[in-house]
């Protein structure tokens, strides 16, 4: 029965063969942008009004945040370690090895930490949200919520977007800290810098203007990851086949959006600092 339904849906005529490929893909692009904008607007229209789904929010925060700690921690450590090892020869050429901790810390906290962690989250969290929502759509669970008089957008979408918006910054800070320990390990492979000296050098160089904009932009990263995952999953309409498509496009579009936000954030931050 299910199968019959799916095939009948698939066999439905798509748009007639496109006359002009460029025009039709441009049309698709603008259609996608307008749908996504609508989805975002709906989020802001509904997020401030009750009913608030706190229990579900906590559950999602646990899933998004706590469950990602090991992955984010390991990648953070490797990131700090590798960056330190790679930077050492260049600095040594200038006889500036003592700058190593500070320089690595600045690049991790300003740029590499937030972006790498956000990309990992787009891969882990974005795809799982996309797949989960798409399978809820395919198995009519979203319709079932609606039918029982409960707003599925509030229960499913808003809680997940809120959870990623709140948790990704925490994951980034966690990863930054672990990366600094990784860097400390990297420094001590060849040199001998004690713990106090290392962190004294780091905090000597780090300024408020390094940390603050970097943390602010991670909220936008988190929002983008949740938004794209939910948008792709919630609007999936291709049955079970849509699950893979949604997960995949959530990662692709989420990662792209992270770079775009990063670019905008650099411009905006340079206006103020």
């Amino acid at each position: 029965m299910e199968e019959a339904k799916n095939t009948s849906k698939d066999s439905e005529p798509d748009d007639p063969a496109p006359q002009n490929n460029f025009l039709s893909s441009a049309k698709d692009f603008f259609l996608e942008v307008s749908l996504l904008s609508n989805f975002t607007l709906r989020f802001f229209r509904e997020v401030f009004f009750p009913r608030y789904e706190f229990n579900e929010l906590i559950k999602q925060c646990y899933r998004v945040g706590y469950r990602s700690l090991p992955l984010v921690g390991i990648t953070g450590f490797i990131m700090g370690l590798v960056l330190t090892i790679q930077s050492r020869p260049t600095l040594a050429e200038f006889g500036a090895e003592s700058w190593l901790p500070g320089m690595v810390a600045v690049s991790i906290i300003r740029e590499i930490g937030p972006v790498i962690t956000a990309l990992i989250c787009a891969g882990k969290i974005g795809s799982s949200i996309g797949a989960e929502l798409a399978s809820m759509r395919a198995s009519e669970q979203i319709d079932a919520m609606q039918v029982s008089g409960i707003n599925p957008f509030k229960y499913i979408v808003i809680t997940r977007i809120a959870a990623t918006t709140l948790m990704v910054p925490i994951l980034v800070i966690f990863s930054d800290v672990i990366a600094l320990f990784g860097s400390y390990a990297g420094v001590n492979i060849k040199g001998d810098v004690n713990f106090h000296l290392f962190f004294a050098q780091v905090f000597n160089i780090l300024k408020f203007s390094d940390v603050f904009p970097a943390v602010i932009k991670t909220f936008f990263f988190g929002f983008a990851i949740g938004l794209i995952g939910c948008y792709k999953g919630y609007n999936s309409n291709e049955g079970t086949e849509g699950v893979g498509i949604s997960a995949n496009s959530a990662v692709v579009m989420g990662s792209l959006l992270i770079f775009i936000i990063d670019m905008i954030a650099v411009q905006v931050a340079s206006l103020f600092m």
């Binding site: 029965m1 299910e2 019959a4 339904k5 009948s8 439905e12 005529p13 009913r51 989960e132 399978s135 809820m136 198995s139 009519e140 669970q141 319709d143 079932a144 919520m145 609606q146 039918v147 029982s148 008089g149 409960i150 707003n151």
Partner: protein
């Protein structure tokens, strides 16, 4: 609950005829098309309180679309839909949600929430009602007992068989004691014994709660047990209507073929 309803399948209909004012559902000239493909062309039907209406039709004839229009999951292109005296298209979000709490919908796929236990699944429709934890649990247990699955309360949906999922789905829909029930193929994919149990359950619900029901089915045995009246949809219009025996005796070979075993 304690209304004394006749057990005989023919009687609710007669009773309904007497109190013709008690209309649960009235659909006039409903139309719906998807991407230039007309699915429902002109459907009109009425459903009185306490009546079981079985809808027959070929696969893909738009039966699911019809009942999804009734609950507002699909917006019709034309026609009017009066559900419990309210015009669906004129309701705002809140009105629609309030109405939906009085209408139960059993999905073709049961649509249990995968990430929740059976108990959480059943509690979900009640989450906006103010009630004590213990009362909630009582209702859940009662609903599960009614479908004969009291022991499944702490299971996850993935641990259940297809028939059990259907019954849990039914329990979840019934927990709010709906005034109208919409069943989308309640017995499809089940063995004859379980099918019969579900059909009996549908009759039981009609008796206990005096619900008006629309039952979509391909299962003629289920139709025979549950139907007070049968409606056949063909090419987006109502092709025939009548009681089981009337339609079974139909001269039209197409309609008759539904009733062949």
């Amino acid at each position: 609950m304690e209304t004394t309803l006749p057990t005989n399948t023919d009687q609710p209909k007669n009773q309904a005829n007497v109190k013709s004012a008690e209309m649960a559902l009235e659909i006039k000239n409903l139309q719906k098309s998807f991407a230039n493909k007309s699915v429902l062309k002109d459907i009109s039907l009425t459903l009185t309180k306490g009546e079981n209406l079985v809808v027959l039709g070929k696969s893909g004839s738009g039966k699911s679309v019809l009942i999804k229009c009734i609950i507002g999951l699909i917006e019709p292109d034309g026609g009017s839909l009066q559900v419990l005296g309210k015009n669906i298209s004129e309701l705002d979000d809140k009105g629609l949600n309030d109405l939906r709490k009085k209408v139960g919908f059993l999905f073709q796929s049961a649509a249990l929430y995968d990430s929740m236990t059976v108990r959480e699944n059943l509690e979900f429709p009640m989450r906006e009602l103010r009630m004590k934890e213990s009362e909630r649990l009582e209702l859940v247990k009662e609903a599960l007992t009614n479908v004969g699955l009291a022991e499944a309360i702490n299971k996850m949906p993935s641990e259940l068989s297809g028939g059990m999922r259907k019954r849990i789905g039914l329990a979840r829909t019934l927990i709010l004691k709906p005034e109208i029930m919409l069943y989308d193929e309640p017995t499809t994919g089940l063995d004859p014994i379980t099918s019969k149990e579900i059909s009996q359950l549908i009759m039981d619900i009609q008796k206990r709660l005096n619900t008006a029901s629309i039952i979509i089915t391909h299962d003629i045995a289920c139709a025979k047990i549950t139907a007070n009246r049968i409606l056949v949809i063909r090419d987006g219009v109502c092709a025939a209507a009548g009681t089981f025996t009337e339609l079974q005796a139909s001269q039209d070979p197409w309609i008759h073929s539904f009733f062949e075993l």
